[in-house]
């Protein structure tokens, strides 16, 4: 692939894969020269090209600087399809973990308040938030009726049932619930898988992390987000668990038929899709939205469980802890949004597969407290390096359908990471860097070792330099819970 691939340099951070064969639009990669090499070396470039074949796709098939080989779409892929021109929606452009996402919480704690107590804090978080393969039982098993209420109301259901407060909803993308949710579009299996897993972290790259704001790049925006140097933060990364996986799997079967029915041409079966304005497309949107709402409820409940765990560990009152939501973003989703294409306002189905919404100041969907500065863009890095809070910019609306990167992005396979970690003690290595880690499985720790990821600073620098989102603060990890 890489030998035959011809790339056109647009500027230092933007590259184009020219339109060839059945591509309907060119590919566009945001990367510096080093990141570009890792993207091209991977099968990722072929996947950018494959996505460019989708019916109704406009402008470009985009890859963010954290992009890497996925299945169907690349991870770090963004594509907008024109709904009125038969544009398609593809479950492969969302992924199995629908609304996998991230939330950042601010606290009233300073580094000095926690630095000698990290072991106790991490143990308490580990005990208080169920994690690991197939984790369950965070709250009582839900009846199907209650689960359907949750699927309609999303994070609002969690707040109504005593997990967090109403002000959290304002600081959640879509206020924590997509209105298009149709719980009746879910199979019995999807519902069954969802009854016992809400409020659980899961495993793999999901985590719960305590960190400290170590650097402020933009003090005005940081102030608007309620963040300052030396402040302790909590970050939660998780998604829609088994319910979301089942929705994706069920929908892919339906979409395979839809590809034949609507005579769609796709280069990879995992890109199976249907026009947004078709019964199959609408049904998937309804089911996907319900799964997205499940993920928001999941993270909202975990936030409340984390607060209880921190109160226990620190012997502080909730008031003293001062835990509050900065923002919650989804990074595996398809959204119906308005964007300008060649100067004309269009209704697009924007797929973000491992990409974060990054709306600029003044956009109607940016919550009121942040309207003047823009939407927080949360970019978690690996567990040993750091994470960023950035802010969306107008260039994102102009160039990338209001989207930015979602993390550091893997560059090493799990098998290679395990080989590389042989004879090493990853948790001890992190401890020497001042990071306390507790993981359900040792294998997860090896697979998720910092070297397995790209340099998050380089990834964010590309987004910053390209003007897509701007750096606000950098957070250094202090304690990590992994599934």
């Amino acid at each position: 692939m890489s030998d035959a691939l011809k790339l056109k340099k647009i500027d230092d951070y933007t590259w184009e894969i020219p339109k060839t064969g059945g591509m309907r639009v060119p590919g566009r990669i945001y990367a510096d020269e080093t990141l570009l090499k890792s993207i091209v070396r991977d099968n990722c470039a072929q996947q950018i090209i494959n996505v460019a074949h989708l019916q109704g796709i406009v402008r470009y098939s985009i890859a963010m600087p954290d992009a890497h080989w996925g299945y169907g779409f690349p991870i770090g892929g963004v594509a907008g399809t024109d709904v009125s021109e038969g544009g398609v929606i593809s479950p492969g452009g969302v992924g199995y973990d629908i609304n996998c996402g991230c939330r950042v919480l601010a606290t009233s704690l300073r580094h000095a308040d926690v630095k000698d107590r990290m072991e106790k804090i991490v143990n308490s978080l580990y005990a208080g938030v169920p994690c690991g393969v197939g984790s369950s039982g965070a709250i009582s098993k839900l009846s199907v009726g209650d689960l359907k209420k949750l699927l309609r109301a999303g994070a609002g259901w969690a707040v109504k049932n005593g997990y967090g407060s109403g002000s959290d909803l304002e600081r959640t993308e879509e206020k924590g619930a997509l209105e298009m949710a149709d719980p009746d579009a879910l199979s019995e299996r999807a519902l069954e898988r969802g009854r016992n897993q809400v409020g659980t972290l899961g495993s793999g790259n999901h985590f719960l992390e305590m960190g400290v704001v170590e650097r402020v790049f933009n003090s005005d925006v940081a102030r608007a987000f309620g963040l300052e140097e030396g402040q302790i933060t909590v970050m939660i990364h998780s998604g829609s668990r088994g319910l979301g996986y089942q929705v994706c799997d069920d929908s892919l079967k339906v979409m395979q038929r839809a590809v034949e029915k609507y005579h769609l041409r796709i280069p990879d079966r995992q890109l199976a899709c249907a026009p947004v304005e078709s019964p199959e497309g609408r049904r998937y949107l309804g089911a996907m939205s319900a799964a997205a709402n499940y993920a928001w409820a999941n993270r909202q409940i975990m936030m409340a469980l984390a607060e209880r765990a921190l109160v226990r560990a620190l012997g502080a009152s909730p008031g003293e802890l001062g835990l509050r939501l900065v923002y919650d973003v989804c990074h595996n989703i398809a959204k119906i949004e308005r964007h300008k294409v060649e100067g004309e306002e269009k209704t697009l189905c924007v797929h973000r597969k491992g990409a974060t919404r990054a709306f600029p100041p003044g956009h109607p969907d940016v919550p009121a407290p942040y309207k003047g500065v823009g939407q927080p863009v949360l970019v978690p890095g690996d567990m040993g390096t750091g994470s960023f809070v950035c802010v969306g910019a107008q260039e994102a609306m102009d160039e990338s359908f209001g989207s930015a990167c979602h993390g550091a992005g893997r560059m090493m396979s799990r098998t290679k990471a395990i080989k590389r970690s042989k004879g090493r003690n990853i948790d001890r290595e992190l401890e020497q860097q001042g990071i306390v880690v507790k993981a359900r499985g040792r294998k997860t720790l090896a697979e998720e070792m910092p070297e397995a990821y790209k340099d998050v600073d380089a990834v964010v620098d590309v987004m910053h330099a390209a003007g897509i989102c701007r750096k606000v603060v950098r957070i250094r990890p202090l304690g990590v819970v992994k599934g």
Binding site: D42, N43, C44, H68, W69, G70, Y71, G72, I75, G92, G95, Y96, D97, G132, V133, G134, R189, E192, R193, G202, S203, G204, G242, Y245, Q246, C248, D249, L252, K253, Q256, R257, D268, R269, Q270, A272, R410, M411, M412, S413, R414, T415, K416, R440, G441, K443, T444, E447, G483
Partner: protein, 147 residues
């Protein structure tokens, strides 16, 4: 991957490198063996099979539109048994595979955190680059899992 033992069907599975996820390339003399082999490979990613006693059996009967969907459906069915019944599976018997239907039985035991060490969560078996091929005197498949 553990080494093959006596009693294993005649297939073999090798891990496939994938940046984010994990894949398997499996070979077997028969289609039935191929399906069994892939199932075993998948559960070896989830947990160590040595510790799982195949005492509890679950019959599996599936229909699908074509062979690829049948293959993904089979693996998804086993993931569903694991997640919904908490049964870790270690024995896989496929008695027949027609292009659109499958009959078989799987066996394992309910997850016991004291004895079983879980390794990875598999979210799904994907269709990405999935191809089931009849090569020479056997069958081959490559499948990528979402982890």
């Amino acid at each position: 991957m553990r080494k093959p033992r006596r009693g294993d069907p005649g297939g073999e599975c090798q891990p496939v490198e994938h940046t984010a996820d994990m894949g398997l390339r499996c070979k077997a003399p028969t289609l039935e063996g191929l399906f069994e082999c892939a199932a075993r490979g998948m559960f070896e990613i989830i947990a160590s099979l040595d510790e799982i006693r195949p005492g509890e059996s679950v019959p599996v009967s599936l229909e699908a539109a074509n062979l690829e969907e049948l293959f993904v459906g089979w693996l998804e069915e086993l993931l569903y048994i694991w997640e919904s019944k908490r049964i870790l599976l270690s024995k896989f018997t496929v008695t027949s595979v027609e292009p659109r239907s499958l009959e078989g039985e799987v066996a394992g035991e309910v997850y016991d955190p004291k004895r079983h060490e879980l390794q990875s969560e598999i979210k799904a078996a994907t269709y990405h680059d999935l191809q089931i091929e009849h090569k020479g005197d056997g069958w081959e498949v490559q499948v990528i899992f979402d982890l």
